[in-house]
């Protein structure tokens, strides 16, 4: 089917992710424009998992012992073969740890243009997308030349519930279209997250530091404010990657999702991956020296200025 909308779904241990359902919702709204069917590829999951993919007209369940856990090499080979065989007009891939291993492989293996960091994809009057670049600081309208493309879509770009609903869909169980023996990558084992000294998901108040904190020594300022508030210190990814705080303190897509009563962000720019893990906090206050920082788009209250002025000021007032 040459005009098909092909959705690459993902799962971990057989559980389909919210990102996959969001893509189905996006696929459905594209289908409303183009009239094309939405076909979901479910690779290596138990066929029963297809039941959750209500937004698809057809679910292709690809079964093979090499596919039961995510394997970047095997899963990419299968998706590339399916896209080459079916020649869909639109391929939607989640911009996640799994999708990152697939989207660019499809682009090269199927000779299709690829648009990353997508927030919105449209098909009326040519394929186009709106993308978030520079960690959410810039929004770009993008036009694709040609009538087929791959879109890697950021999490949270559509409603997962809209992808879950739908009528009775067809489920087709197929064998891998390519021989997967003799692969160069072998899955060994999963590791569950290691517990930390502090459970940031249980705190009522989080003092959260980002790149603006400048050095590991300065985290002490956040510790002092958190102590005065009876809260905990958390951080965005760059702080964890620098080794200034343990992984258990990370808020965001690759870290933890938190919903405290109060979320105080200091020097956190507000990249989409971070916002995904904190947007449902009850009260969000952000301090940043950059008036364009995307964190102000999600915060309830903001102050533009130097965090080194206001952090000690807050601590002093609370202790005083």
């Amino acid at each position: 089917m040459a005009n098909e909308i092909f959705v690459v779904t993902e799962h971990l241990a057989g559980e389909v992710t919210e990102s996959s359902l969001e893509l189905l919702a996006m696929g459905r709204s594209l289908a409303a424009t183009t009239g094309a069917p939405v076909v979901a590829a479910l690779i290596g999951a138990p066929p029963a998992a297809a039941a959750t993919l209500g937004g698809a007209d057809l679910v292709l369940v690809v079964g093979d012992p090499h596919l039961s856990e995510f394997n970047p090499e095997a899963h990419a080979a299968v998706v590339v073969a399916l896209v080459n065989e079916r020649e869909p007009a639109i391929v939607l891939v989640p911009y996640t740890s799994i999708g990152m291993d697939l989207a660019s492989a499809i682009s090269v293996g199927c000779e299709l243009p690829l648009v990353s960091y997508c927030r919105r994809v449209t098909a009326a009057g040519g394929l186009a997308a709106t993308c978030q670049l520079h960690a959410g600081k810039v929004e770009a309208d993008v036009a694709v030349q040609g009538d087929r493309a791959v879109f890697a879509v950021l999490s949270g770009s559509a409603s997962a519930d809209d992808g879950r609903v739908g009528g009775a869909h067809a489920v087709e169980e197929i064998a891998s279209p390519v021989d997967l023996s003799g692969g160069k990558i072998t899955f060994i084992e999963f590791h569950e997250p290691v517990g930390g000294d502090v459970d940031i998901t249980a705190a009522d108040v989080l003092v959260v530091v980002g790149r603006g904190i400048d050095s590991g020594e300065n985290i002490e300022l956040a510790d002092e404010l958190a102590a005065a508030l009876g809260g905990a210190v958390a951080a965005s990814r760059p702080i964890i990657d620098q080794g200034w705080l343990p992984k258990s303190r990370q808020v965001g897509k690759s870290g933890l999702t938190v919903k405290p009563k109060a979320y105080l962000a200091f020097g956190v720019s507000g990249a989409p991956e971070h916002v995904e893990g904190m947007r449902d906090s009850s009260t969000i206050v952000a301090v940043n020296s950059d008036p364009q920082a995307p964190i102000f788009g999600v915060a309830h209250y903001g102050w533009v200025g130097d965090l080194f002025d206001i952090l000690p000021e807050l601590t002093d007032r609370l202790e005083g």
């Binding site: 291993d101 960091y117 993008v142 569950e192 200025g305």
Partner: protein, 256 residues
């Protein structure tokens, strides 16, 4: 193990960005560039592997700007053996064009492993790491947070989400997109960088500017925060007072 590390400059993430007069790009005249932070982690992971099992590290970076020299001399000062500047003066490259530039250059290099950052904030049309791997038909793993050299190749930790990771074994040659090295990228003294500038570790290679891609930006905007925060004006003292009132209203500060 012989390792190639691919590095590229990106607009400084802490700088304010402005839009060009034609509305379809950033205003690059005043833009500061720094090395892509994930590439710094890729280099660090490479240095750690070299310390464990020996071998060489060759760093490649595209462009002719001064920033590229800084990036490459810093890598040499940290312990890379050779740095190759892919001289091309075509302005910002798409991820596909960049990947093509790197794959061409890699054909002249003896490598077992290619390490590069998992992504860059301006990679509109894909990830260089996976594009390079796919163009070279090599296995790849993205979002790598640790590696361990083993007899058969490398054992790799890949991060999924919510703290879940998985280990894989990959035979070489292979390409890894690094999210974070096992430890924070090392610091290097400016004196060591000056020393590297005196040495002969940096070479320039001719690079053919690749063709333009099929994905085109038609407009860029700085998103308005107007639906977002109520902005607190005033100095730090005034703002602190307001924030404490807000925390009181949220029920996390007592009294009043």
């Amino acid at each position: 193990m012989n390792i190639a590390v691919l590095m590229r400059p990106v607009p400084d993430p802490v700088e304010e960005l402005e839009i060009s007069p034609d509305g379809a790009d950033l205003d690059r005249d005043y833009l500061g560039y720094v090395v892509n932070e994930f590439d710094e982690h890729a280099l660090e992971e490479g240095l750690l592997i070299k310390e464990q099992v020996g071998g060489t590290i060759t760093v490649l970076a595209p462009g002719s700007a001064d920033e590229i020299d800084d990036i490459l001399y810093t890598a040499l000062a940290k312990g890379a053996d050779r740095a190759v500047k892919l001289g091309t003066d075509v302005g910002p490259l798409s991820a596909h064009a960049l990947a093509r530039l790197f794959t061409d250059a890699l054909s002249d290099i003896d490598f077992d492993l290619v390490l590069t950052g998992v992504q860059a904030a301006d990679e509109l049309d894909g990830q260089v790491s996976v594009l390079v791997a796919s163009m070279l038909r090599l296995p790849h793993i993205s979002v790598v947070t640790a590696t361990e050299p083993i007899a058969a190749g490398v054992r790799v930790t890949k991060e999924f989400w919510a703290g879940i990771t998985a280990d894989y074994e990959v035979t070489l040659p292979a390409v890894l997109g690094v999210q974070a090295a096992r430890q924070a990228p090392r610091y290097v003294a400016i004196s060591r960088i000056r020393q590297a500038q005196q040495g002969e570790g940096l070479v320039e290679a001719d690079a053919v500017p690749p063709e333009r891609g099929s994905v085109r930006i038609t407009a860029v905007r700085l998103p308005e925060a107007e639906d977002g925060a109520e902005m607190l004006g005033g100095d730090a003292e005034a703002a602190a007072e307001r924030i404490i009132e807000i925390l009181r209203a949220a029920g996390v500060v007592q009294g009043g």
